[in-house]
């Protein structure tokens, strides 16, 4: 049996009526990859100042059934979370990712909140995570995996609470990619993606039964964003 890889590549080159690209022909393609140039980016968010981007992010997220609570500083997060949970009559036991980005939240201020730090397991009803960016264009959150930010915490709990800082709000997905490129840059150049990058826009949903929108199919039923102003907005 011949090699499927070689066969496929040969087939492609035959169809393109050429052989394997030589170094000279491949150079501009390699340069295109390296440059990862941005294409057209809608003005909707890119044309706004930061304050406007925060307002757009909030409106877009609320438009896809997420809820947003704005607080002045990390000090206010436990209160905002407790208030949200009690208003919806949700359990006060939280699984919180061991993310240093959440270290400045004084959970002890609300002793009725039961905090467990770590990976979400089956049965965890409420999860709290940080995120790495927010995209104003569509009200989208960007989260990535890592030792302190397991991906399953974004999907297993019925209620997903995301702590977002105002300075993390950006215009576009491309801004999010740039952030990943900086954060995961390799010393020899280039960067290495984390295992998973999640772009999350509202809670889980389906319309597979008669096109009727239902929230909470397999992922979270509710997405609540606690937006810390930090004097930025």
């Amino acid at each position: 049996m011949t090699d499927a890889r070689a066969d496929t590549l040969d087939g492609i080159r035959r169809a393109l009526k050429r052989g394997k690209l030589d170094e000279q022909a491949a150079a501009p393609l390699a340069a295109r990859l390296k440059a990862h140039k941005r294409n057209l980016i809608p003005k909707r968010a890119a044309g706004l100042d930061h304050r406007g981007q925060i307002a757009l992010f909030t409106a877009m997220a609320e438009g896809v059934n997420a809820t947003v609570a704005r607080v002045a500083s990390a000090q206010d997060v436990p209160g905002a979370v407790a208030e949200y949970l009690s208003r919806l009559n949700l359990p006060s036991r939280l699984v919180v990712t061991p993310d240093p980005a959440l270290d400045d939240i004084p959970w002890a201020k609300r002793p009725l909140l039961e905090i467990r730090k770590g990976r979400a397991e089956d049965g965890d009803a409420v999860g709290v995570t940080a995120c790495s960016a927010a995209v104003a264009e569509t009200g989208t959150l960007m989260l990535h995996s890592g030792p302190e930010s397991p991906t399953r915490n974004n999907f297993l709990p019925d209620t997903h609470i995301v702590v977002l800082r105002a300075n993390q709000v950006a215009a576009s997905y491309e801004d999010g990619f740039d952030q990943l490129r900086r954060k995961f840059a390799k010393p020899e150049g280039g960067f290495s993606m984390p295992r998973t990058v999640n772009f999350i826009t509202g809670p889980s949903r389906t319309a597979d039964i008669e096109q009727r929108l239902e929230l909470g199919m397999h992922g979270p039923r509710r997405l609540h964003i606690v937006l810390i102003d930090d004097g930025q907005a």
């Binding site: 393109l16 991906t151 491309e174 998973t196 889980s204 389906t206 039964i209 239902e214 992922g219």
Partner: protein
């Protein structure tokens, strides 16, 4: 899935008389069509994005070998593996070997049209695995032992009563007297049952909307979150992807992503867009231990450089299905294989052969809506016409058509004769139809008069009217 595209006419006739199907299909317009129009009206850059997306795909296809090799190199650098497969049989064998290697039993699956193309579920079942579809629509058709009727809403042909009946027949451990009257109750039931499958699965299989050459990543776009639980919890993540899913960079994917959800479900962005790169890193506390990309050709490389190359730009958004009057009338299952509607009418003949699927490119009025809504500007009617030409030149079309066309050609290429004959025919029909103004039946035209009346001509042909004007 064994194709039944040759039986399109019989399938379509049955579909037109299927009360449940006709009721279910009325949901299409309010759901997808109107929301898409609304979303596009909110994005002034829409056509600019389409132009760029087309250019990105054209560039990628012209250098497909280079970008696939770059992709493979980066998958390997991140600890994953690429399995090149020429056809569905090789791809199925590859998936099975990975599962066996891990001693796997339960396999959860996110929605994948390549998986449908491979019939991977049937294959895994035959070999002792338990594949479980986890997208709600796919789960519904799996428990009903049906194929999909739409490429993004596989159960769109069903009404909720049919789904409730299937749930009762399958979830026999639950209280038979439980209420299952609305979508909410059924979603909750499926959520509970499938959550246990996510937790039990040894291997998770997803499709891919994009492969990124620059990073060696695959991207899936979903709304339910099933694809994420499928790929995050088990020990291995297998990605089923065809060659043409590749784009050079994340930025290129972002441009096409801006078209995808708006064209598909009429959303600004789907709930979950997930970029996956390699297996979990040594210090990660979750994620799959293995990452495999099954890279399937299955006839696609042979489309390059032919009149069907443009079809390789397709991003499977289903806008062409949602806007097709034929699809809306007969539903997806009439098309007899995994890809229905206009995109299926072009793609199916390349994948299963024009002998089997010759009916499909003929199942179009060439109204052109498919091409006008296609975010990737794929000339679908033109390609259906190419198939019709091939079918004709290979003498595959029925003798009555061929005779009819030969007869018509004889007149059409002789303008004087044509004018005389058509004028005489119009006068004759006008005379006989004068009293009623229409015909209930006509010899040789039962295809028309079987479902509607033929209006009687008003006496003169268009040509003669036009002439007398000038």
């Amino acid at each position: 899935m064994k194709p039944t595209s040759h039986a399109f006419k019989e399938n379509a006739r049955a579909a037109l008389g299927d009360v449940n199907l006709q009721k279910a299909m009325t949901n299409l317009r309010a759901g997808f069509v109107e929301r898409r129009a609304l979303m596009i009206s909110r994005l002034p850059e829409w056509d600019g994005l389409r132009d760029e997306a087309v250019a990105i795909k054209r560039h990628t296809l012209a250098n497909l070998d280079f970008y696939l090799e770059s992709f493979e190199r980066n998958v390997i650098a991140n600890g994953g593996k690429v399995h090149w497969c020429r056809d569905a049989a090789e791809a199925n064998a590859t998936v099975l070997a990975i599962c066996r290697d891990l001693g796997a039993k339960t396999v959860t699956k996110g929605k994948s049209m390549i998986g449908e193309e491979m019939a991977v579920n049937e294959y895994l079942e035959l070999n002792g695995m338990i594949p479980v579809e986890t997208d709600l629509g796919e789960y519904i058709i799996q428990i009903r032992h049906e194929g999909p009727s739409h490429i993004i809403a596989p159960a769109i042909h069903l009404v909720k009563e049919q789904i409730a009946e299937s749930f009762r027949a399958t979830h026999t451990k639950l209280d038979p007297k439980r209420p299952l009257d609305d979508a909410r109750q059924m979603c909750d039931e499926a959520r509970g049952i499938l959550r246990q499958q996510f937790l039990a699965a040894d291997v998770g299989i997803t499709g891919a909307n994009f492969l990124i050459a620059e990073t060696g990543s695959s991207i899936i776009v979903t709304n339910e979150g099933n694809g994420d639980l499928t790929q995050t919890l088990p020990r291995a993540h297998i990605v089923l992807a065809s060659l043409e899913k590749i784009v050079p960079t994340l930025e290129d994917a972002a441009t096409i992503l801006r078209l995808l959800a708006r064209s598909a479900t009429g959303q600004e962005f789907s709930s979950y867009t997930t970029v996956s790169t390699g297996p979990r890193r040594p210090s990660d506390i979750d994620g799959p231990g293995q990452y495999h990309v099954v890279l399937l050709d299955n006839g696609r490389s042979a489309m390059l450089g032919t009149e069907f190359e443009d079809m390789l730009r397709c991003i499977r958004c289903a806008a062409c299905l949602n806007h097709c009057p034929v699809y809306e009338a007969v539903g997806g299952k009439s098309y007899g294989w995994v890809y229905p509607g206009p995109m299926g009418s072009v793609l199916t003949p390349t994948l299963v052969g024009i002998e089997e699927a010759g009916n499909l490119p003929n199942a179009s009025t060439f109204c052109g809506r498919c091409e006008s809504v296609c975010p990737m500007r794929i000339p679908l009617p033109k390609m259906m016409r190419h198939w019709r030409e091939r079918e004709f030149s290979r003498h595959l079309s029925p003798a009555s058509w061929r005779w009819g066309l030969a007869f018509w050609t004889f007149f059409a290429t002789r303008p004087r004769l044509y004018h005389a004959a058509s004028g005489a025919a119009a006068r004759m029909l006008g005379f006989f139809g004068k009293r009623r103004g229409r015909f209930r039946s006509l010899p040789l035209a039962s295809g028309w008069t079987g479902s509607r009346d033929m209006p009687a001509p008003q006496g003169r042909s268009f040509h003669s009217l036009w002439k007398s004007r000038s």
